[in-house]
Amino acid sequence: MRYLPLTQHDRETMLATIGASSIDDLFADVPAGTQLDGPIPGLPIHASELAVERHMAKLARKNLAAGDAPFFLGCGAYRHHVPASVDHLIQRGEYLTAYTPYQPEIAQGTLQMLFEFQTQVARLLGTDVANASMYDGSTACWEAIVMARRVTRRAKAVLSSGLHPHYVSVATTMAKFTGDVLETALPTLAPEPDTASLIDRIDDDTSCVVVQYPDILGRIADLSELAAACHAKKALLVAVVTEPVALGLLKSPGEMGADIVVGEGQSIGVGLQFGGPYVGLFGCSEKLVRQMPGRLCGETQDADGKRGFVLTLSTREQHIRREKATSNICTNSGLCALAFSIHMTLLGEAGLRQLAAVNHAGASAAADRLATVPGVELVTPSFFNEFTLRLNKEARPVVRQLADSDILAGVSLGRLYPGAADLENGLVVAVTETTTTEDVAVLADALTEVLA
């Protein structure tokens, strides 16, 4: 077996050293009745690398890869081009096969990278600080709600109707068990986000308002007024960014007054991967840092006075505080954070701005083209790289029908909000630098046909 170095001779020698007559002696503490006496029947036995690769490749080929079709899906996961050097570097064994950097003297590579990542994320989100990453955007969003409860000692969170429905769903699930009160609402196919309604709902019991920027339909709202309204009631503003490339062109939520900014970092450096692993971003103002969940890397010095980095403020964390920790989170999304950081370093500010500009221009042109299709109306006057169309019929069957001709047309709101009749004609279309004008033309022609 190719991953097991011990030879039969080694095993015998080692058993002799131990003073055991057989391997069974070492399992003596397992009651006899609960031990299996051989490999579990009905399961296949070991296989060669070639055979396993063939099996997995066969499964992979059953999927329609985004790169093999005109592709327009977004809604929390975006297809961007990732430079080849990113994937090369994250596969270096020193990153791939390292552990959490609890022994900082021999983990400066990971630690310095995390310090750089934290700084990049904080600057992008417009917050004072950021942590070393969370599981993903949806879990980071829930952690932000819980953190706002700890900070304000209030348990009611007001969630924007433009927040990703999976994020709402995660928060709703968790709140059932923790006693947090969540106010939620379904979006409408309106041109403007729900900022005014959010402001109306803030009261003295509100811990935070959670708003997505740009929102699930792609709309963009100025958060300044909302932030001021939150602060007037001593509530926090939590902003959620699911498409961080947008922040290459748009003002950051922190700049507009958000106290906690969380996000899904997948867009930068991390592929679609059918939904995971992704990388949760978490930033906040300096004064809230001790209420933050997750790992934090900080600068310090070694015994020779050289600059170095360590995991710090761990008295917030479960391995020290146990049941009094700010969260039960242990793992971060280290390797995805590395991919994010490398991609961001390759882009730099100039590259990020240009990437964002290409996305916005492409989306703008696509929106105009698709709006000329009979039976299609553009719902969202403002957007970054993702916009919502209202079709003249239910969008979900249309998406399925186009998928049969290998066109991945976008995300139907019927998929995200099953049963919501007002939304069923909605189609969210994302356009990135990977989308060609030919792709848009194919989609426009196909829509023209199915909507006629």
């Binding site: 399961l43 064994g93 959490t100 242990c330 290409v358 492409g362």
Partner: protein
């Protein structure tokens, strides 16, 4: 634009134990590397774009960014060099034995990486129509079938993102089941003192009061004390088996029976499943829920701290409450995705969704690849070799270091030692840091809390006898020096990229992001 107009860079280090300083601060292959903020510039980029199409006017609602962001860029050669240089300051499994107890740092096969990068897995959107992702759903389903078979359980929740997220999933299943029975008033979860910190943190996060279960002198759950505490207020016990002292909980079945008899549930922390995979099925021990760290037992890479993946196997009693979404294979071979919209008919008691999308797909492909490579016979051999390697270390070192539970019998996949017998003023950390100089990552130190100055060593099955022999020799040598009070140990490591780091300073004056030195100086 340079972000570092003052040109400040970390000074070339002076002194230390090494002799002559170098001009660069480098020492041959040990290369110092500044931060990207010190070497990059905002107008440098390593990515080229086709010409930007003419924008048809901005539609950004008047919210265009005006102020600079402050993100440095590097050209591709500079970036490759920066991250390659940094990588060389990391220890890794690829470099040597990584004996971290309870962490299962085993070899990460590269076939797994290759498979995860096949476009049919890596380049698929989670919200594509299900007919276009049948292969992905089959992977989830096939892995689920394996995990159920290997654990002898009834169902599995695949979506939890990591071990602690899996714990939360299991505890929420328990809470949902209790509430369905009208017993939501049970508010206590019992956790052994030797448990991972995530166990009590998870129980508290879900709103439970946490109480300790005492251990016996031989490092196992005190069954009598546990039974005495059980009652109608107990929702669950959380047990790690094999436990964090590296011992199998012999009374596991009796514990489960006693907990079930009073109406509670048994959660098992599956972090140490590697010791028993293929030889013991947790389902046969009366477990109701157990998370499986795919990044431990099933070799998905740790990646410097994540991502993890923590599917949770569930008993028949808890399966109805498992989270959405999940997959179901139909008689015709088609795999369905059960989400919110069809859960009403298929899975009405689910406690809901724990994460966006479908879980850590990239980890599922890797874990399934690993499982298929080993097969049922190979996985059993994994457990046997892991346990053999740990016992070899235990018996080779018990004459040198205090092994508190060694007299009572064999260990499972990890061997535990205490700091008893070291010279006055010397402790586990000195041995750990000296091991760094010997070229090893230290063992887990000061955990579990029930052993004084604990050193928890888990070699895993992917180490050769020669590697173990050298490690044993190194640890013996270091331990003898600690017993003799060698002062050089107190200042170890001497040869790592950094000497001991000041963690107190880091926590007292947190510097969590880079700031332009001129500003930082002005702030002082």
């Amino acid at each position: 634009m340079t972000l570092n107009p003052s040109g400040w860079r970390p000074e070339a280090p002076q002194g230390g134990t090494a002799d002559a300083p170098t001009f660069t601060g480098n020492r041959a292959l040990m290369l110092e590397e500044p931060l990207i903020f010190e070497i990059g510039a905002t107008d440098t980029t390593g990515v080229d774009f086709a010409l930007t199409p003419a924008a048809n006017g901005s539609r950004l609602a008047g919210l265009e960014r005006a102020a600079p962001i402050g993100l440095p860029g590097l050209s591709e050669p500079e970036a490759v060099r920066h991250y390659t240089r940094l990588s060389r300051q990391n220890y890794a499994i690829d470099l040597g034995l990584f004996p971290l107890g309870s962490c299962t740092m085993k070899h990460n096969p590269r076939l797994n990486e290759k498979v995860a990068r096949m476009p049919g897995f890596a380049d698929v959107h989670p919200l594509q129509p299900v007919d276009t992702v049948q292969g992905a759903l089959e992977v989830i389903n096939e892995l689920a079938v394996w995990l159920i078979a290997l654990t002898g359980m009834h169902g599995v929740a695949m979506t939890p993102k990591a071990g602690a997220h899996g714990e939360l999933c299991g505890i929420l299943c328990i809470k949902a089941a209790l509430e369905a029975r009208g017993e939501g008033h049970r508010k206590v979860i019992l956790v052994p003192e030797s448990a991972h910190g995530t166990n009590p943190a998870t129980a508290a996060f879900a709103g439970y009061a946490v109480e300790d279960i005492p251990a016996t002198a031989e490092g196992r759950v005190d069954l009598a004390a546990l039974k005495a505490r059980l009652g109608p207020d107990v929702a669950a016990v959380m047990i790690t088996n094999p436990n964090t002292c590296g011992l199998f909980e012999r009374d596991m079945k009796a514990i489960s029976d006693a907990v079930h008899a009073v109406g509670g549930y048994v959660y098992c922390d599956g972090a140490n499943f590697n010791a028993i995979v293929g030889r013991v099925r947790p389902g046969d021990l009366g477990i109701d829920a157990m998370h499986i760290n795919l990044h431990k037992t099933f070799s998905t890479p740790h990646g410097g701290g994540g991502p993890g993946s923590g599917p949770v196997v569930l008993s028949e009693a808890l399966s109805p409450y498992g989270p959405l979404p999940f997959t179901a294979r139909m008689a015709d071979g088609h795999v369905r995705l059960i989400e919110e919209e069809n859960a009403g008919e298929e899975h009405p008691h689910s406690f809901g969704r724990m994460t966006a999308f479908h879980g850590q797909m990239g980890m599922f492909t890797r874990a399934l690849t690993y499982i298929l490579s080993h097969g049922a016979d190979g996985l059993r051999q994994v457990a046997e070799d892991a346990v053999l390697n740990a016992n070899y270390i235990l018996r080779s070192l018990e004459g040198t270091l205090d092994a508190p539970f060694a007299a009572a019998g064999p260990c499972m996949h990890e061997a535990i030692f205490s700091d008893a017998g070291l010279a006055e003023g010397f402790s586990t950390i000195d041995i750990a840091k000296a091991l760094i100089d010997e070229g090893y990552h230290p063992m887990t130190m000061y955990f579990p809390l029930v052993v004084h100055g604990a050193m928890l060593i888990e070699p895993t099955e992917t180490e050769s006898k020669a590697t173990l022999d050298q490690f044993i020799g190194a640890l013996k040598s270091v331990a003898e020096r600690a017993k003799a009070g060698d002062p050089a140990l107190k200042s170890a490591p001497h040869f790592a990229p950094r000497r001991r780091l000041d963690e107190t300073l880091a926590a007292r004056k947190p510097v969590l992001v880079w700031k332009e030195p001129t500003l930082a100086e002005a702030a002082e």
